[in-house]
Each structure stands twice: as structure tokens, then as C-alpha cells.
């Protein structure tokens, strides 16, 4: 099936197999290997990308369903100068990365949260990241990294 999709700001046409998952398409056709496939059943969140600004599991969406949509992967977060985004830098600075496998999905889920709710409470951050599993760092540093990015930053009760 022929689709047109905007990926990390570039709109292109592709011919995709109707059974191919979006995660497979992003990794195999486009080499966007920041998208990780951990479980392929929506449990681990490592394949999280933004579809029209909302975080989704790219393993639970078919590539053809991306027709006409805007996809952002971890590779699309970098600044125009090629530097890490502020959220990515916060993960580094807070020690929120260990083995790194969950990190792209974790950051995309957090990015989706912050685009919708620029000043989330800690409870809102934890609820929004519940679909992303990390088996190395624990979640404290990850939550701290996201908290550091709150755009309006009033301290709110959890």
C-alpha cells in the first residue's frame, strides 16, 4: 500500500506491506534504530514514538496506518544544530540512563507528556511513564529528569 508520511519533519512516500508494524518500518526501512522493539506487545514502551504529538507504541500500530500522519522518533528530537534536546540533556545530567535500551521510549513518552501538559505533577509524570519499563536505573532519576523540564514549574502537590 502506498502511504505518505512525515517522519522527523520530512514528508516522503513509501510502499508498505499492510502487515508490517510501524516499529519494523521505522527500524528496517528508515534505519531509525533508536526505536527499540522490546516486547512487541505494548508492555515495555521501548518502541514509543510520537504520532501527531501523542506517544504511542509503534509495535502496536501498522505502518500503513501512519499514512498522512506526523511521526517523531528519538532521532527527531535533536536541535537544528544537531545537539541533544533539553529533555535528552536532562536525562544525561540526572543519571537517568544506564544500559540505555529503554531510554528512547522513555524520553518520547516524557516528550509527549510535556507537549500536552507542560507542568505535570510527580504523580502525573509517573502515570504517564507507567507504560515504559526500565530495569536498570530505577525510576527516581528518570522522574527527576522529567521534572527538571517542567516549562512553567510551579510546585504542585502530587
Amino acid at each position: 500500500m502506498n502511504i505518505r508520511v512525515t517522519i522527523n519533519g520530512q514528508t516522503r512516500a513509501f510502499d508498505v506491506d499492510p502487515r508490517q508494524r510501524l516499529s519494523e518500518f521505522l527500524r528496517q526501512t528508515l534505519d531509525l534504530t533508536g526505536v527499540k522493539e522490546g516486547c512487541r506487545e505494548g508492555e515495555c514502551g521501548a518502541c514509543t514514538v510520537l504520532v501527531d504529538d501523542k506517544p504511542v507504541n509503534s509495535c502496536l500500530m501498522l505502518a500503513f496506518q501512519a499514512d498522512g500522519r506526523r511521526i517523531v522518533t528519538i532521532e527527531g528530537l535533536k536541535t537544528s544544530a544537531g545537539d541533544l534536546s533539553p529533555l535528552q540533556r536532562a536525562f544525561v545530567e540526572h543519571g537517568a540512563v544506564q544500559c540505555g535500551y529503554c531510554t528512547p521510549g522513555m524520553i518520547m513518552a516524557a516528550e509527549g507528556l510535556l507537549r500536552e501538559n507542560p507542568a505535570p505533577s510527580e504523580a502525573e509524570i509517573r502515570h504517564a511513564l507507567a507504560g515504559n519499563l526500565c530495569r536498570c536505573t530505577g525510576f527516581q532519576t528518570i522522574v527527576a529528569a522529567v521534572r527538571s523540564q517542567m516549562r512553567v514549574r510551579p510546585e504542585r502537590a502530587a
Binding site: 500500500m1 499492510p18 502487515r19 508494524r21 506487545e41 505494548g42 508492555e43 514502551g45 514509543t48 504520532v51 501523542k54 506517544p55 504511542v56 507504541n57 509495535c59 502496536l60 500500530m61 501498522l62 500503513f64 496506518q65 499514512d67 498522512g68 513518552a109 509527549g112 507528556l113 502515570h127 504517564a128 511513564l129 507507567a130 507504560g131 515504559n132
Partner: protein, 296 residues
């Protein structure tokens, strides 16, 4: 015939597609169930993405009912002001369903069509007396009650090619308070081990219940009305005797619903704790579990 995919822009395009499509038809919206099903998406016929078909994603209230289009996402249900106001239990069930990523894709129609015994929205929809508008492959439209649509674990009365287009919740008979509580292995992204949905009339000044309706999820193959337990609340004042009678009725209902099931010893205890949590949620009175004799 190899699998063909289509994305109809609106219901007219969908009807035209169905009229000309040969072979089996499989609908996909969020895909969060279809892609984890043992067989996955089909390998022949038509795979029709309805997730952006205009006229299927909406939430609208008129004088008599709340109408929810089938491809309305779970995330949209959770944050919708009309649903929160008119039937909060459905918004609460939606907020506790899956993860943020799943809620952004999964739809109310898919949750219903999956007919999972643990489907989070189903008990809330049954409690609210929801009806379903179903479009047939040949173009006909019919309305089904909850019990006429949901027949068993994963079983519905939908024929091949049928599409759930809309969920209707009647406004007549809605009670002023509603709540949904759920027990899973963790707080988020957990399959329900047990859930309770209640609609009730409760006067906070006299602390007395009026009418009440109660439905349990993940106990039986389909959501289970707990009329006996709801009956213990009618006209009763919140206190130890009420909590005790309610707890006992819940426990008896679970015993009767799943005799001999391996999970019964767990669920008959769990339902009592969850029942007290439900009373707190619906009355907004803290410490119900500490009422004298509540757990006796």
C-alpha cells in the same frame, strides 16, 4: 487474494468499499488488541483502518443520551468533561486502562468488540445500560443492548463484517454519583483481576443511600450485575452494619458466580476490600474500612 489495506475517509467511502470488497473484512482502529492476538492481522481479504474515518470519533450529548463514536480513543474518554460529569465511572475506567501509549490508540469500540472478561470499559457500560449501534456489511443498522451484544469471553453477536459504530448511554435513570475501582497486579498497565462499577444516590448530609446499581468485572466471563449487594445499600445509612451487609453480599455473589474456580479463594477476599474502596469512592467519606465490623 493477498491482503489489501484501505483507509476510508468517511462512512460513505466505507460503505462504497464494503459494497465492492470481495473476501473477508477485518477492521482495525487502535490495533492494540489485534496486533497482540495470537493470529495477528489477517493475511487475506481486506484490512480496513477505521481509526480516522470521519463520523466515528465523537462524543456528543443530547437531551436523552450520551453518544460516543466507536473510534473515540480511551484517552479522549478519560478527559472528556461531559463523560466526567454525566458518568464519571466510565472516565475513571478509561484512565486506568492500559498505559498512556495504549490509551492514545485504543478505542471504545475495540474494547467492546474484544469482549474480554477483563475489558475495563465493559462493566461501566453495562452499569450505565449502554446500547450499541451496529452497521452491517450490507449497510443495515441495528441497536443492541449490552447483553445482546456481549455473549461470553471474547464472544459477541457481531457477524463477519459488522462494525460497532456508536455507543449510546441513556441519560434517563443516571444516578448522581458513579465510581469505578479496579484491582490489578500494579496500579498502571495492569489487567483487571477484579473491578467494581457503581452508580448511586447518596445524601452526604444524612449519609444515606438511595438507589444503587453495581456491576463487577473480571469475575465471570461477562460483566456481572450484583443486584443483591446493591440492594443492601438502598435506604441504608453509611456505617458498620451497612459495610458488613454489603461485604457479605459481595462475597456471596463471588461464591455463587465462580464455584470451583481456582481464583475463587482470592477473589472472594479481594472483592470485600475492593467493595470498601468503592464505598469510599462513591461516598467520598474516608475510613470506610475502619467502620466497626466492616471486615467481619
Amino acid at each position: 487474494m493477498a491482503l489489501q489495506a484501505a483507509i476510508p475517509a468517511d462512512l460513505g467511502a466505507l460503505r462504497a468499499l464494503l459494497a465492492g470488497a470481495g473476501g473477508p473484512v477485518c477492521y482495525i482502529a487502535g490495533g492494540t488488541d489485534l496486533l497482540v492476538a495470537p493470529r495477528g492481522p489477517p493475511s487475506e481479504g481486506w484490512l480496513i483502518d477505521i481509526s480516522r474515518t470521519a463520523g466515528l470519533a465523537f462524543i456528543a450529548a443530547d437531551e436523552t443520551k450520551l453518544r460516543i463514536g466507536a473510534t473515540t480513543t480511551i484517552a479522549a474518554l478519560a478527559r472528556d468533561p461531559a463523560i466526567r460529569r454525566l458518568f464519571g465511572a466510565l472516565a475513571q475506567a478509561a484512565e486506568l486502562c492500559g498505559s498512556a501509549q495504549i490509551r492514545n490508540r485504543a478505542t471504545i469500540g475495540g474494547n467492546v468488540a474484544g469482549a474480554s472478561p477483563a475489558g475495563d470499559l465493559l462493566p461501566a457500560l453495562k452499569c450505565a445500560g449502554a446500547r450499541f449501534v451496529v452497521l452491517g456489511r450490507e449497510g443495515g443498522e441495528r441497536r443492541l443492548s449490552f447483553d445482546a451484544l456481549i455473549l461470553g469471553a471474547g464472544r459477541t453477536s457481531l457477524a463477519p463484517g459488522d462494525l460497532i459504530a456508536e455507543v449510546e448511554i441513556p441519560l434517563a435513570g443516571r444516578l448522581p454519583r458513579s465510581a469505578f475501582v479496579k484491582l490489578g497486579r500494579r496500579d498502571d498497565l495492569a489487567i483487571s483481576r477484579l473491578s467494581l462499577t457503581m452508580e448511586a444516590d447518596f445524601d452526604s448530609s444524612t449519609r444515606r443511600f438511595g438507589e444503587a446499581r453495581l456491576v463487577a468485572g473480571a469475575v465471570a466471563p461477562t460483566p456481572l450485575s450484583l443486584d443483591g449487594a446493591a440492594e443492601t445499600l438502598r435506604g441504608a445509612a453509611l456505617g458498620g452494619p451497612l459495610a458488613r451487609a454489603f461485604s457479605r453480599a459481595l462475597l456471596n455473589a463471588v461464591d455463587a458466580a465462580i464455584p470451583g474456580r481456582a481464583s475463587r479463594p482470592y477473589k472472594r477476599r479481594a472483592v470485600v476490600g475492593l467493595g470498601l474502596e468503592l464505598l469510599e469512592a462513591i461516598t467520598q467519606v474516608k475510613g470506610v474500612d475502619a467502620l466497626e465490623g466492616a471486615l467481619a
